[in-house]
């Protein structure tokens, strides 16, 4: 057990290191911006004193390394800075001080929960569905069903998310109004209503992700079907379904878990476009708005969160596939 434990600890340490380096990359990228934020906020007509005041308030007069350390220390404690676009800079240009500043954390927190809800619903539909279909495709390989599934999955992998989204909107919201095409989710909404409003974006993401997972499940199982122990099981006379479910599937688990986790990581990217299409109040939409408004602290924070989730899921995939290997779990 100890050797597995050590490997897992190594992986986690590596993940933390990667995240640290990624945060440096993000910070450096943002600091390549020309001019500075203070100038951009106040425009050309600003007085030098006003610019200096904002620079001091935002800590822009510090050298980059100390700014990075401040930012990282804040981020670790959940303080991601205050949003530029929402900031109240009236006090710097001589107006009275009024209104609190909007921090990035307060903006992100509710939306982060919404995005997790969307990803969760998608995963609950997509994972069982795609493994079921993958097993079926492996069972009836080279049949008409398999070929149709191949064409269908290949098409849905290669379509842009917004195409699938609009096709679903057209058929399920406009022509047959079963589901709402806008996901206006607010706090204090009942679970059922919330689920109904999330269903259409979740279905879009499911279409994208299922195709990939199903193809990999099928490939992983078919890879194993040539091995001698499967031949043996077949010669024993058990049914093809049993051969696959009881004999092939457990050994194909490692690649399948890997692909499930990778696709959940892929969801993070897919979520951005889908949230914009359905006006879903998630973190992806916040990110795109931040990009358009050049709200640097917000973009920085969202980028860090996306990267962290991505690294975390990849790490989970690594560890899970390690754990699913009995040779590693029970070393001689």
């Amino acid at each position: 057990m100890s050797s597995v434990f050590r490997i897992i600890l190594q992986r986690i340490a590596l993940g933390v290191l990667t995240l640290f380096i990624v945060s440096i990359v993000i910070f450096t990228a943002v600091n390549m911006l020309p001019g500075d934020f203070a100038q951009a906020i106040l425009g050309q007509a600003a007085t030098p004193e006003a610019i200096a005041a904002i620079r001091q308030d935002l800590g822009l007069d510090q050298p980059p390394v100390s700014r990075y350390i401040t930012w990282l220390a804040g981020a670790v404690q959940g303080d991601l800075g205050s949003s530029f676009a929402q900031a109240n800079f009236a006090s710097f240009v001589g107006e009275s001080t009024g209104g609190g500043e909007v921090t990035v954390a307060t903006q992100i927190a509710p939306r982060f929960a919404n995005t997790m809800f969307l990803a969760g619903v998608t995963a609950c539909i997509a994972v069982p569905f795609s493994i079921f279909l993958g097993v079926l495709a492996a069972l009836y390989r080279n049949s008409a069903f398999d070929k149709a599934a191949n064409v269908f999955t290949l098409s849905s992998i290669s379509s842009p998310e917004f195409f699938l989204a609009y096709v679903l909107i057209l058929f399920l919201a406009v022509l047959n109004p079963v589901l709402p095409s806008l996901s206006n989710i607010y706090e204090g909404m009942g679970f059922g209503e919330r689920l109904q409003k999330t269903l259409l974006p979740a279905l879009t993401l499911t279409l994208v992700v299922t195709a990939h997972m199903m193809r990999m499940t099928r490939a992983a199982i078919i890879n194993l079907l040539a091995s001698p122990y499967i031949e043996m099981a077949r010669l024993k006379g058990i049914s093809p379904l049993r051969v696959i479910v009881r004999h092939a599937l457990p050994n194909a688990l490692a690649p399948i878990i890997n692909v499930v986790a990778l696709n959940l990581a892929y969801l993070i990217t897919g979520v951005v476009v889908v949230e914009v299409v359905f006006v879903y109040p998630g973190i992806g939409q916040l990110f795109v708005d931040g990009v358009k408004n050049r709200d640097i602290p917000l973009v920085q924070a969202c980028c860090l969160i996306f990267a962290a989730a991505y690294i975390l899921l990849n790490l989970t995939a690594d560890i899970m596939s390690l754990l699913s290997n009995p040779r590693l779990r029970h070393p001689k």
Binding site: V30, Q196, S239, V272
Partner: protein, 390 residues
């Protein structure tokens, strides 16, 4: 949510139909092995296929199912043309190409045909399109269809947009801009990633270490997110120069995607540099350029070509997504992602005017069709090369 009981009912009915079908088959054919040994799953599959066929036929004759009819007509028409194209390929050409077309599945010939059509549209857009992409006409929001009684105009078969530009021309120019820019970006990514990957594989040592670790870090950030972050910075750099932003986007996506190319080129290159002929070339005293371009590159051709197809799809989809989000290809250049976003509201008119609602889907479908086509061809190429190895 009264849909779920209906779905359950349909599944049960199909299962029962499959069971009856098998039983009837056994009775009628006196237990022929086909029916005797048929698992229930297969019988259910037949029932499902029959049910889907019947449902499709029923839907075809529904008055409100215009989109369904168009989709089926489009797919059938493309399939027939692809079949004819394959026949043509089998009849004319050299021995090699005829053999290639004989062994080709329909999906692959469909893919090749679509890619050819897009290439022609992209290259000759200026000659094919009836109007210029930035040309603004006096009448705005002309409805598609070309029928004056329903608000159309024969001069503008797909109508005009909010500021009076011809949509058909913009769709055709979109092939030039979107596909052209994606192609240039992919070439750039391959030039960068391929060269560095082969260099890392050949020289190894510290260069390999530095490049590989750098690529590891860049790949730890989701690519669309990283692209969006860098586009924020690029938009500040570009200022009001819109064309400069497009150039920055090409460079940014090329660099991000070159990391994936680097991985593959390095892995393929590492397998090749241990070969004896490389050793021989080194002993002959050949230079680095000769080793990479004359020895490694010809042998890494097949996997790199397949990767080029897939990478093109990814780049194309990334650019389309960025444009859709409003930070990609900038107006006045016509581009499909931006068109989808601008026209997306029309989808709500589907019940009154299906043609109008089809406009955003047309632009989005143009993106989907090309990526599907490229994927079909790459799938076939991979299948062929792996089949030859067996």
């Amino acid at each position: 949510m009264s849909v779920i009981p209906w779905i359950l009912l349909v599944v049960l009915a199909l299962g029962f139909a499959g069971w009856v079908f098998r039983l009837a088959g056994q009775r009628v054919t006196h237990n022929k092995p086909d029916f005797r040994d048929m698992p229930f799953g297969v019988a259910f599959g037949y029932a499902l296929a029959a049910g889907a066929l019947l449902g499709g036929i029923w839907l075809w004759f529904q008055p409100g199912a215009a989109f369904f009819r168009w989709a089926i007509q489009g797919v059938v028409a493309l399939a027939i043309v692809a079949w004819l194209f394959r026949l043509l390929g089998r009849a004319v050409g050299t021995f090699g190409t005829r053999k290639l077309f004989r062994e080709m599945p329909l999906t692959a010939s469909f893919g090749i045909l679509v890619i050819l059509i897009y290439a022609v549209l992209a290259i000759f857009a200026g000659a094919i399109a009836p109007h210029g992409q930035e040309e603004v006409f006096a009448r705005v929001n002309i409805l598609p269809g070309g029928n004056p009684e329903t608000g159309g105009d024969p001069a503008f078969p797909l109508g005009t947009d909010q500021i009076g530009r011809d949509l058909l021309s913009r769709l055709i120019y979109g092939a030039q801009n979107t596909v052209g820019i994606a192609f240039v970006t992919t070439c750039l990514a391959f030039l960068l990633g391929g060269t560095l990957g082969f260099l890392a594989a050949t020289l190894q040592g510290w260069l390999d270490q530095v490049l590989s670790r750098a690529v590891d870090v860049l790949m730890a950030i989701p690519s669309l997110i990283f692209a969006l972050l860098l586009m924020t910075i690029a938009s500040a750099w570009a200022g009001s120069e819109k064309w400069l932003l497009t150039v920055y986007m090409i460079v940014i996506i090329a660099v991000i995607d070159s990391t994936r190319v680097f991985r593959l080129a390095r892995a393929v290159g590492l397998n090749i540099v241990v070969m004896d002929y490389i050793e021989a070339a080194k002993l002959r005293g050949e230079g680095l350029g000769y080793l990479i371009f004359k020895e490694i590159l010809p042998n890494a051709y097949a996997p790199l070509l397949a990767e080029f197809g897939l990478r093109f799809c990814f780049v194309f989809l990334t650019i389309a997504s960025l444009s859709f989000l409003g930070v990609g290809i900038q107006p006045p250049l016509a581009d499909w992602g931006t068109m989808v976003r601008d026209l997306s509201q029309f989808i709500n008119f589907a019940a009154f005017s299906p043609l109008t609602a089809a406009l955003p889907l047309l632009a989005a479908g143009a993106i989907a069709l090309l990526t599907v086509a490229v994927n079909f061809v790459v799938d076939w190429m991979l299948h062929r090369t792996s089949g030859l190895k067996d």
